[in-house]
């Protein structure tokens, strides 16, 4: 589980490998470790398309799990891995709303709750 900043970001500096998380992330994916991205922000939705570094992370194989809370995603990932180890299936199950852990719409008053 990675609890990224904002939309779900980590450092991916292309020219400063020492500071970049990307090599480690790629190595993890190569070794079939499921990588799931949530956000440190309490409210709102992760998004792998707005900024370049998130696009790079998604392309590397990180699964962005919409607006799931980190703690919930952690428990869910444990449950999913208990059923399958196939990366495609892990992604698909993590992105399927099973018990209301993912909401398709973020409402205006979400922040007021």
């Amino acid at each position: 589980m990675i609890e990224g900043t904002g939309f779900g970001h980590t450092p991916v500096y292309p020219r400063a490998e020492k500071l970049s998380w990307l090599p480690s992330i790629k190595r993890a994916v190569e070794e079939s470790v499921a990588l799931v991205m949530t956000s440190q922000a309490l409210y709102g939705r992760t998004n792998p398309y707005v900024y370049r570094n998130a696009r790079v992370l998604k392309q590397a194989g990180v699964v962005y799990v919409e607006d799931m809370l980190t703690e919930v995603a952690y428990v869910k990932l444990g449950w999913v891995l208990g059923h399958t180890q196939d990366p495609k299936e892990v992604e698909s199950l993590m992105l399927t709303d099973i018990a209301g852990e993912i909401s398709s719409r973020t409402l205006f008053n979400t922040y007021l709750i």
Partner: protein
């Protein structure tokens, strides 16, 4: 009447953009698009023009920024989310809408692109919370056949609907967020040359029926909208936005041609009269002159801190009342330019100044402005910055009269006239939507859609005639109507005669609208279907259908059952009918015995009065005849 050769001779060129809302949810989020809710919150915003990626400020954006308007957005809890508020990035493109757009593109013989790029189109009137509208080219280079010729379809786009406007108070505009993001297909024709306004309208109708034949489009008020580009030789390209009805297109084109011709003629007249650009002087503030005014409008403006600006327009005296096209005088045209800056309009010297109680002030004004008797004088009253800008805009517009019609964006009025809204936006209006990656469109996907394309509308007419037994005219009416997909659904789901369904949808509903002035187009498909199913299930008779539909249109919240009960049109069974007939004959036995067979009309009338709308009239007639015969034959024996 102007004929086709006239429009050819003046070089009429026209481009059509047809917008059609699609069924299903929103384009970039998971909200409903039913437009059926009450708002729960409002959000207030302002727009600010900034330099674009190319280092220039869009002309239209600068204009809007200058107007400094406040935008209020009404928020609907199930029909808007943070995407509509522009507080969350767009989600991925709605797959259902994408498929509908590709279907439409293929029906229009267009070539689907290999990769879809979502673009942002600058929109600065506040109708998009983001300041742009998202649009994507789906297909290019198609055609439609019309009178044996190929009408070019330049492009088919999929885009998001803007907010609906609820109120416009000049400095504040109220929008509804629920409409924002509804998917639309936009079909743009190539330049149509050599066609008359009626033919241009027919081409628009043809595109409309082609889109509806996909079965994936919405119907009802606001579900289609047309933009037109119109130009003539010696005129200018004018974009006319928001023609609500396809049937209004020919009138709008005719009016625009007339307007441009009048402006060309006026330019010539002014030049011949020796009017020159340098004769136009900027407006002056003349508030002082009106401090004692008896004119109520100006008095009110001054009381709330307003000012008055005035200017003389050389050589234009007497021209302000001239009609540029039916319903649009030059005075009104100039006033639109003032109104674009958020003031009420202008008052000019061609008006009845005595009635306006402004005779004295205008006399003094004429001296103050050193204006001659051939000059038109006008004033603008309002808040200081707006009155200054508005009066300057009027002078600028008047100056342009020397050069004929300018390029501009206009909006269509419901009566087929148009009004100035803003100068044509600059060219740098489109730029990539960076929040959505490009989407490759696999060929197999396109081919799978092509393999199961819906029927062409002409095939539908043929099938409805041959297989469903509709008269040809009725079949064509249904296919060309907004109710096509509802008709097909009702034929499939009920055992009602297709002719009954068709005539209900294309003529009964229209009658209700015309006779009772009820906005029957707002009645949702599901409610009409509910009424048809009630007839099919014997819950109401087909005679009662018009009454039920009328009541439903008045209160769509009610169920068909409740309405039937309220109207007392519970259907009766055959047994009940027979009982009513027997007792009616019994009650009128004397007449029956006297008039014998000729009593049929009387009995029929009395029975119908009791059962009207509750059972098929044909059944009543048969039953009355049978029973009467039976009664008469036994009575003869008795006699």
């Amino acid at each position: 009447m102007r004929d086709k050769s006239f429009y050819r001779s003046i070089g009429l060129k026209c481009g059509l953009e047809i917008h059609q809302r699609l069924k299903g949810g929103k384009l970039f989020c998971s909200c409903r698009s039913t437009l059926s809710e009450e708002p729960s919150l409002e959000i207030i915003r302002k727009l600010r023009a900034v330099y674009g990626e190319l280092g220039v400020v869009d002309r239209a954006a600068a204009f809007e920024h200058m107007r400094n308007r406040k935008f209020v957005y009404k928020y609907y809890p199930s029909e808007s989310c943070l995407v509509e508020c522009d507080e969350e990035p767009p989600h991925q493109v709605n797959k259902e809408a994408l498929e509908a757009a590709i279907t439409a593109a293929l029906m229009l013989n267009a070539k689907v692109v290999d990769e879809i790029h979502v673009m942002r189109k600058t929109v600065i009137d506040g109708s998009n919370t983001s300041g742009f509208q998202r649009t994507m080219v789906i297909a290019l280079d198609g055609y439609l056949e019309y009178k044996g010729e190929k009408i070019p379809i330049a492009q088919v786009c999929l885009e998001e609907e803007a907010c609906g406007i609820l109120e416009d108070w000049g400095d504040t505009v109220v929008y509804r967020l629920d409409r924002l993001g509804i998917p639309l297909v936009e079909v743009s024709t190539g330049l149509l040359e050599g066609y008359s306004p009626e033919e241009i309208q027919e081409i628009a109708l043809l595109i409309g029926v082609t889109l509806r034949s996909t079965g994936k489009v919405r119907r009802g008020l606001g579900s289609t909208r047309q933009d037109l580009n119109v130009s003539i030789s010696g005129g200018s390209r004018v974009e006319i936005k928001g023609v609500q009805e396809l049937e209004l297109i020919s009138k709008v084109v005719e009016n625009e041609v007339e307007r441009q011709l009048s402006l060309i003629k006026l330019a010539k007249e002014l030049k011949e009269a020796g009017v020159r650009e340098e004769d136009f002087k900027p407006p002056m503030e003349v508030t002082e002159l009106f401090s004692e005014t008896k004119n109520r409008v100006i008095k009110r403006a001054l009381k709330s801190g307003g000012v008055v600006f005035a200017a003389a327009l050389p050589g234009l005296s007497g021209f302000a009342s001239r009609e540029l096209c039916p319903g649009l005088t030059l005075g009104k045209e100039l006033a639109y330019h003032a109104r674009a800056y958020g003031v009420g309009g202008i008052i000019h010297s061609d008006e009845d100044l005595a009635k306006l109680k402004l005779e004295d002030e205008f006399k003094k004004l004429r001296e103050l402005l050193k204006a001659g008797s051939r000059d038109l004088i006008f004033i603008v009253a309002g808040p200081p910055d707006r009155a200054a800008e508005a009066s300057r805009a009027v002078v600028e517009r008047a100056k342009q009269l020397l050069n004929g019609p300018p390029e501009e964006t206009r909006a269509a009025n419901p009566d087929g006239t148009t009004r100035f809204t803003r100068p044509l936006p600059g060219a740098a209006r489109m730029y990539p939507e960076t929040d959505i990656p490009p989407m490759p469109i696999p060929r197999e996907y396109v081919e799978s859609i092509r393999a199961s394309l819906p029927e062409h509308w002409e095939q539908k007419v043929k099938r409805f005639t041959e297989q469903l037994g509709l008269p040809r005219d009725l079949a064509r009416q249904v296919v060309w109507s907004e109710y096509l997909s509802l008709f097909e659904e009702a034929v499939e789901k009920t055992r009602l005669p297709p002719t009954l369904i068709a005539s209900t949808l294309v003529s009964t509903l229209k009658d209700i609208k015309r006779r009772d002035k009820i906005p029957v187009e707002q009645l949702p498909d599901e409610k009409i279907m509910e009424a048809l199913l009630a007839v099919d299930g014997g819950k109401i008779s087909k005679e009662a259908l018009p009454d039920v539909l009328r009541e439903l249109a008045k209160s769509p919240g009610e169920t068909v059952q409740a309405i039937a009960a309220r109207l007392g049109i519970k259907p009766i069974t055959l047994e009940e009918l027979r009982e009513i007939i027997s007792s009616t004959i019994q009650d009128n036995m004397e007449v029956v015995l006297e008039k014998r067979e000729r009593a049929l009309g009387l009995i029929m009338g009395r029975v119908m009065a009791k059962v009207k709308g509750r059972i098929d009239g044909k059944v009543v007639s048969e039953e009355v005849k049978r029973k009467l015969k039976e009664v008469l034959s036994t009575s003869r024996v008795e006699a």
